[in-house]
């Protein structure tokens, strides 16, 4: 969610930082000095912090970490400009005294916010911008007050400024209380820093897999800083200022970078590989450096200095040892850090990318998991809680597979069970791999589960539609039976009784004539009843579709030819075929002004194809024969389709294809 004011503020901060950096570059350019390591670090820090700050604030405006990035970028820029101007003024090249003093005064304390805020709040709030719990509020307060106090006391400490010893602090307050407050600030900041580190450790312990991956990134960068800063400081004299400072500053740059990667989840799961490589090359460098130093020093002492031999021998030793040493270290690190897990996660991530791009189907999830987990027989069974069944990706119910050597692992999201993975027992011994890959594939599993569920529901609806049609057919058959065997026979019996009565009456009399007329009425009623029953379901269907169609044609007032197979089909198929033909025929007779009709029914490719072709005026469509719409529904319910081909003046063909395999 981006609130209306988020964007303007972000861009104002970016613009301010860039302006400050540009001004400090301008000051350097005006002095004609070459940019030194200090200004290079400022540039690098801004180059890392600004894009990260923009990305995080725009994506997660409520997360203070993005704002910390931007705030630090501004203070770094301001510190850089102040430092540049103070240098310019203090070297006596020019500049106003007032401004120069102010710059020097600020520069000496400018490190406080941008070093201490990341060291406390970044760790305390990482990665979601919230405290672990409200119990950590004192730590946050301690850090906040400590940093503020440190800045104030730094700015108010009397005497020469730290970075510009020749300048006296213009705003120094000569009081013992400053010293006390400085000590208090140090204490509070220390509480803030160690409290923040503890909170991060706690977060890691309690966190789920994803959170742990995120914290690992920060831990890697923190570890790097923790190693490089003391080593750099200790070897300051040995390796020289440039190397030591560069190493320290670069290691500090990895902190915001790692935080950004973790928060933005960009290549989040590659952390293991990064740690792996860092460890391998760190240990390798240290090892080779040690060997180089030992050989060159040892030989130097033995042979005496001034010879190039020790250097050559040390180089040779390093060159010879590089490959075996690297392989050994790599193997040792791989053993400690799970490579299969990294590869599995990489495959799943790749699949998710393909899925988003539409190059892969969610149904491939099972195959991808089988590949990622290295178990080709692995199956993903989706759980449908409403029905209490497991289904496969096509939505078919799967019986409980209890194959030997197989194991079942549930896949959950929150409290909801999504699926069950049926896999090799061997995988059960690597819960970390299994859990990581399942969690990474969670979304894909959920999507395929939904699709499987939709498929299943659709199949159910289709089945029930077919059942409804079949039930309707059965009902028609029952109704037809009832009309014929019940009502009609009863009427015939009554007619017979009347005839008997008629025989008892004097022939030719009024009563006999009345009875005779009544029987004639009764005969008409029976005839009507028979027509009604035929409409409900023609009894000829009992003798097959061919017979029923012949009888249909015989009753047609138009010349109607039937070409029908004598094969028998399922009752519902024959019934549907008959009613399609009957409806189409009725339409032709009513609307088409045709002279001849051909009704055909034959099997083709596992379907019964029924067609009614006429030579009438054409132009028919399903809409102007609502009976055909109903027939279309009936055909579709059996999984078939109805087609109407009609061209003006070239007749109409109504074709229904009904699966009968």
């Amino acid at each position: 969610m981006i609130r209306a004011w988020t964007r303007p503020i972000v861009w104002v901060l970016v613009a301010a930082t860039l302006l400050l950096v540009a001004l400090s570059l301008g000051v350097d350019a005006a002095r004609g000095t070459r940019p030194d390591l200090g200004s290079g670090f400022v540039l690098a820090l801004v180059a890392v912090l600004l894009p990260l700050g923009v990305l995080v604030t725009l994506r997660q405006p409520a997360n203070p970490i993005g704002w910390i990035f931007l705030g630090v970028a501004v203070t770094v820029g301001l510190g850089g400009l102040a430092g540049g101007y103070a240098d310019y003024w203090s070297s006596g090249e020019g500049g106003s005294d007032g401004l120069g003093k102010l710059a020097a005064w600020y520069t000496s304390s400018s490190w406080i916010p941008w070093v201490l805020i990341p060291a406390t709040f970044l760790l305390l709030l990482f990665p979601d911008g919230k405290l672990v719990s409200s119990r950590w509020r004192p730590v946050a307060w301690s850090a906040g007050i400590g940093i503020g106090l440190a800045l104030v006391t730094g700015l108010l400490t009397p005497g020469p400024l730290e970075d510009y010893q020749q300048v006296q602090n213009p705003y120094g307050v000569d009081s013992g209380i400053i010293g006390v407050l400085t000590g208090l600030a140090f204490l509070l900041v220390m509480i803030g820093i160690f409290g923040s580190i503890s909170s991060l450790v706690l977060r890691y312990r309690r966190g789920d897999r994803e959170l742990r991956e995120q914290i690992k990134w920060i831990a890697l960068a923190g570890g790097l800083v923790a190693v490089v800063v003391p080593v750099g400081t200790a070897t300051y004299e040995l390796v020289g200022e440039v190397v030591a400072n560069s190493a320290i500053e670069l290691s500090i740059l990895t902190l915001p970078l790692a935080a950004g990667v973790a928060i933005l989840r960009y290549r989040l799961y590659e952390i293991d590989l990064v740690i792996n490589r860092t460890l391998v090359y760190g240990v390798l460098t240290a090892g080779l450096g040690g060997i180089y130093a030992a050989v060159s020093l040892g030989l130097g002492v033995a042979i005496g200095s001034g010879s190039t031999l020790p250097t050559a021998a040390a180089t040779l030793a390093v060159a010879l040892l590089f490959r075996p040493l690297r392989a050994n270290i790599q193997a040792a690190v791989d053993k400690r850090f799970d490579r299969a897990r990294y590869e599995g996660l990489r495959k799943v991530e790749h699949f998710l990318g393909e899925l988003r791009a539409g190059r892969a189907a969610p149904e491939e999830t099972g195959r991808v998991l089988a590949d990622a987990l290295g178990d080709p027989r692995l199956e993903v069974l989706f759980w449908l809680p409403a029905e209490g069944v497991h289904v496969d990706a096509t939505g078919r119910a799967v019986r409980d597979p209890a194959a030997p050597g197989r194991m079942r692992t549930p896949v959950r999201r929150g409290n909801l069970q999504l699926a069950t993975l049926v896999h090799d027992k061997a995988l059960g011994r690597r819960p970390n791999l299994l859990e990581s890959v399942i969690a990474a594939a969670g979304l894909a599993i959920e999507i395929s589960r939904l699709r499987a569920e939709v498929r299943r529901r659709l199949a159910e609806v289709e089945d029930s539609r077919a059942r409804i049609v079949t039930a309707g057919d059965a009902e028609r058959r029952r109704l037809e039976r009832d009309l014929h065997d019940g009502a009609q026979q009863r009427l015939v019996s009554i007619g017979l009784a009347l005839r008997h009565v008629q025989g008892l009456l004097p022939p030719g009399g009024e009563a006999a004539t009345e009875v005779d007329a009544t029987v004639t009425e009764l005969t008409d009623a029976i005839e009507e009843l028979r027509e009604l029953a035929r409409g409900v379901r023609p009894a000829g269907l009992d003798d097959g579709l061919s017979t029923a169609l012949q009888e249909l044609a015989a009753r047609s007032p138009l010349r109607t030819t039937v070409e029908a197979t004598d094969e028998r089909f399922e009752d519902r198929v024959e019934t549907a075929a008959y009613f399609v033909a009957s409806e189409a025929l009725a339409n032709v007779i009513k609307h088409a002004r045709a002279t001849a009709i051909t009704v055909s029914a034959n099997t083709r490719n596992g379907s019964l194809v029924v067609s009614v072709r006429d030579d009438g005026i054409g132009g028919a469509a399903a809409s102007n024969g609502s009976g055909l719409v109903g027939m279309g529904d009936r055909v579709a319910a059996l999984g078939g389709r109805l087609r109407i081909d009609s061209t003006p003046d070239a007749g109409t063909v109504v074709t229904a294809e009904l699966p009968c395999g």
Binding site: R481, H484, D485, Q488, Q489, R490, L491, V492, S493, G495, L496, A497, R499, H500, G503, V519, L522, T523, I526, E527, R530, A533, R534, P538, A539, G540, D542, D543, S546, T547, A548, Q550, E551, A553, A554, R555, R559, V562, D566
Partner: protein, 215 residues
């Protein structure tokens, strides 16, 4: 003549029994399913069996199968099948064997014609319901175009099983005129002639059945 009636509805069975008895015939037995019908026919060897198509247990074609059995086991017994509806391809097959009739049930209300047909079947003749004949003739419009309207009328009545005198009565024509029409029909349709009325009727039915493409 002696009659056995197979009809599962008691009321209708009683009505049929009275119909035959009123006309002076002897109803030897009235049964309600196909098995009892077979037993009754074997026992009484009647001149005529009146058989309902649909009978227990399945109410489909028990009557037709029992009828066929009677024709095979007791050729002297004529069989008159009563049906509720026009459709029944099997019926035409049976009728074309002779000594067979197939009528809609409500035909019994036309007492005189029904009894005529019954006597004719008992004598080894045929009876085919006018509705069935109309359906057969309807399917063969093209082939029957060679006939005049009157000849088609005569053909239909022949198919119903009527003899020349029956046709003459029905159409109010002299028997001689009818004789002429019959000859003309047989000639135009290339059917065998001869003196035996029953045979000529069968020839007509066989012709209609064959050309209608019924199985």
């Amino acid at each position: 003549m002696r009659v056995v009636i197979a009809e599962d509805q008691a009321l209708l069975r009683a009505g049929l029994k009275r119909l035959f008895e009123d006309a002076g015939h002897d109803v030897a037995a009235g049964v309600d399913d196909a098995d009892r019908l077979r037993a009754a026919v074997s026992e009484h060897e009647p001149d005529l069996a009146v058989v309902d198509v649909r009978m227990p247990p399945s109410f489909t074609d028990e009557g037709i199968r029992a009828a066929q059995w009677i024709r095979d086991a007791h050729p002297q017994t004529g069989v008159l099948v009563l049906s509720q509806h026009v459709e029944s391809a099997g019926a035409v097959d049976l009728v074309s064997q002779g000594g067979f009739g197939y009528l809609l049930k409500d035909r019994v209300l036309d007492v005189a014609e029904f009894l005529d047909a019954a006597v004719r079947v008992a004598d080894g003749g045929s009876a085919l319901d006018p509705k069935v004949v109309a359906s057969l003739v309807g399917r063969e419009r093209d082939a029957l175009e060679v006939l005049s309207d009157r000849e088609r009328q005569v053909l239909s009545l022949m198919a119903e099983g009527l003899t020349n005198s029956g046709i003459a009565q029905r159409l109010v024509l002299t028997e001689r005129t009818v004789e002429g029409h019959v000859r003309s029909v047989l000639m135009k349709l290339n059917l065998p002639g001869g003196e035996d009325a029953h045979r000529r009727v069968l020839a007509v039915i066989v012709y209609l059945r064959a050309s209608s493409g019924a199985p």
